[in-house]
């Protein structure tokens, strides 16, 4: 290498460093932030923010395992985070760059430590439950006034589903959500890790699959809000967003979210920094910005998910902090369960079961 190319390389490296110092790339779930916060972050820090979205943990995980994603901050859910940590996908947080960590809520931190011991690699962004979204008018029209809207029987009893099929039902396209729910419905351990127990979910899901309009993890927000479907098994905040979109559109659609009485999955979306993040300093700046009590409250007020930030509670709107569908009361909290990641062999059984549920073969 001669002097000229050497200096060229040096110049290029410097420019590359300069570019990355001013840019932070965030990869978050779709419909999951108040976009005004993004502009606020840029204005406060002078760092350019590039914000991309995904709608499935699987897509994110593949990018993390392939490496070189180019993202500085990503938001996997607990079980996925745990597996990606063991695959070496994330770097430990430098807590000295995160003064706002003191705002975090110890109750949630204690739960997320199940996936990330000591919360060394991640901070909680939001958490929620997986439950049932209903178009009240249509469901009552189909099933009568006493439709079991707060029970898993609504979506797992073929007699109910057969009738609901006429107005449309969406399920999340996520076996890690549906299989635990089906197991809970038949009284098995939703966090079962053995093939034998997991396979007991199959007849439950196969019994209702002919009546499911679509398995999809983000379309149901609009589909519910527009009245295209009458039931969705999905994530709490998404269904509450559908409720608000319908109210705004004033189209006569009334949406409710119910945490199933049998119990519901409680999940945690965690912000973490990939091991090969181009701009770790910018990533820490973003995490710290998000952990600001007012910023976090603004995000929750916008997307209707609870967060793991204790200090943000005083800034939350009453229709968020006061809604037991978002911040469940003690009784409901007792009824929520968490799951842990499947190992590779069990994962294959789970996916195969899911393919069978979706395609019938």
């Amino acid at each position: 290498m001669n002097i000229k190319t050497l200096s060229m390389t040096a110049v290029l490296t410097l420019t590359a460093a300069a570019v990355s110092a001013n840019e932070v790339r965030v990869y978050n779930w779709s419909d999951y932030i108040d976009e005004e916060l993004l502009a606020k972050f840029e204005a406060e820090t002078g760092i350019k923010l590039i914000y991309d979205v995904f709608d499935s943990n699987e897509v994110l995980e593949t990018k993390m395992l392939a490496g070189g994603s180019g993202y500085d901050v990503v938001v996997p859910s607990g079980t996925f985070l745990q597996r990606q940590i063991s695959a070496g996908a994330f770097q430990k947080l430098d807590k000295s760059q995160l003064p706002n960590l003191e705002n975090m809520w110890d109750v949630v931190a204690a739960r997320t430590a199940q996936y990330d011991p000591g919360n060394e690699y991640s901070i909680n962004y939001m958490w929620g439950t997986t439950g049932i979204g209903v178009n009240v008018g249509k469901v009552k029209e189909v099933l009568g006034e006493d439709a079991p809207m707060n029970s898993l029987a609504l979506i797992f009893d073929p007699a109910n589903m057969e009738k609901l099929a006429s107005c449309g039902v969406h399920f999340l396209d996520a076996p890690t959500e549906l299989i635990p729910a089906a197991l809970k419905y038949i009284g098995e351990n939703p966090d079962a890790q053995d093939d034998e127990t997991i396979s007991k979910a199959e007849p439950v899901l196969m019994g209702v699959r002919p009546f499911v309009t679509k398995f999809h993890s983000s379309e149901y927000i609009n589909a519910l809000a527009n009245g295209d479907i009458c039931v969705a098994f999905g994530w709490s905040g998404d269904i509450l967003q559908a409720r608000d979109r319908a109210a705004e559109a004033d189209n006569g659609v009334e949406i409710e979210y119910h945490i199933p009485a049998e119990g519901a999955l409680m999940w945690f979306d965690q912000m973490a920094i990939p091991v090969d993040a181009p701009n770790p300093a910018g990533a820490h700046a973003f995490l710290n910005f998000i952990m600001d009590a007012q910023n976090m409250a603004a995000a929750s007020n916008y997307v209707y998910y609870a967060n793991g930030n204790g200090a943000s509670k005083e800034f939350l709107n009453e229709d968020v902090i006061g809604d037991t569908a978002i911040y469940p009361d003690e009784g409901t909290l007792q009824n929520l369960y968490t799951t842990s990641p499947y190992d590779a062999g069990v994962q294959r059984v789970v996916t195969r079961l899911w393919t069978k549920v979706k395609s019938g073969t």
Binding site: E58, A66, F215, D228, A344, S359
Partner: protein, 293 residues
């Protein structure tokens, strides 16, 4: 010398854009899945040498594909969807191409333009717009309800019918263009001669026009069939739970199972299945080129 370079260019192209990726995929298909980054083993390292590396590879992922009927069902279902869609594309595309070729000379560039025009919009947006047309509250149902043709909205979106519509719509220009170019070159006096010799117009069409446009039909069919077979975007956007296509299985292996080796094995098999029509297509093109000479 110049000739050698000219021949070299397409081969380099093939090497860089086909053979190298194929070798990468082929090598992953012989590996084992692992919780690592990237999620498969063995990783190649120069210290151990190439033989140590090769000896760790095996064909068990291909064997695995035979143990589960899901895979061949998905291949068969993809074949069936691709063949049906090709048939409908031909059914719709041929009359359009015929009309274009019979249109007055000065109109033809405009008509050609109209066929190509949709490509100016992103493929994804065009498929998405079908969601708006086909959904239960969509334009199609609204028009049919308004016209009193149906009483209740038709369920088209999220069924195989929507997938057929999507594939036929997307690939129709690939059917029209080669047929048009074959019909365009057709000598009109041949048809006049056939009619003079007592053929009805329909007979002249079957006996003269169709056989002479055969190469265009074959080319069009392959151009629709080959991409339709491995299609992923259209079935995932328009299809429902009944739609079983190998592209979706591939996606699930790769993303949901994180099993890159099995996903690669599925991809290798898909490629082998596609090689047959591609080779046939190539033969057809060559023969046509020779005939033209």
């Amino acid at each position: 010398m110049r000739r050698a370079i000219l021949i070299l260019v397409p081969y380099l192209w093939l090497l860089a854009l086909f053979l190298v990726p194929f070798i990468i995929v082929g090598r992953i298909s012989l590996s084992d899945t692992a919780l690592a980054r990237p999620p498969y083993l063995p990783q190649f390292s120069w210290d151990e040498g190439i033989w140590a590396f090769l000896s760790q590879l095996d064909f068990e992922n291909f064997w695995f594909l035979t143990t589960d009927d899901l895979y061949w069902k998905a291949y068969l279902s993809s074949l069936q969807i691709a063949i049906t869609a090709t048939f409908f594309a031909l059914l719709i595309g041929y009359p359009i191409a015929y009309g274009m070729a019979r249109a007055p000379e000065e109109w033809r560039p405009t008509l050609m333009m109209l066929v190509i025009l949709p490509f100016w919009t992103s493929f994804l947006i065009r498929v998405y717009s079908w969601i708006g047309i086909l959904s239960q509250e969509g334009y199609l149902n609204q028009i049919l309800l308004w016209a009193g043709i149906i009483d209740a909205p038709l369920i088209i979106l999220n069924t195989n019918t929507a997938v057929y519509i999507g594939i036929v719509y997307t690939y129709l220009p690939f059917m029209i263009l080669p047929i048009y170019s074959a019909l365009d070159r057709l000598d009109g006096s041949l048809i006049e001669a056939a009619e003079d010799l007592g053929c009805s117009r329909l007979q002249a069409f079957w006996l003269i026009t169709v056989p002479l446009s055969k190469n265009g039909i074959i080319a069009g069919c392959f151009l629709v069939f080959i991409p339709a077979l491995g299609e992923f975007v259209i079935p995932s956007l328009l299809g429902g739970s009944e739609t079983l296509m190998i592209g979706k299985i591939l996606w699930e292996e790769f993303f949901n199972n994180r099993d890159w080796p099995v996903a690669s094995a599925v991809a290798v098999v898909l490629l082998l299945i596609l090689v047959v029509p591609i080779v046939l297509f190539q033969r057809n093109q060559q023969r046509q080129a020779e005939e033209d000479r």
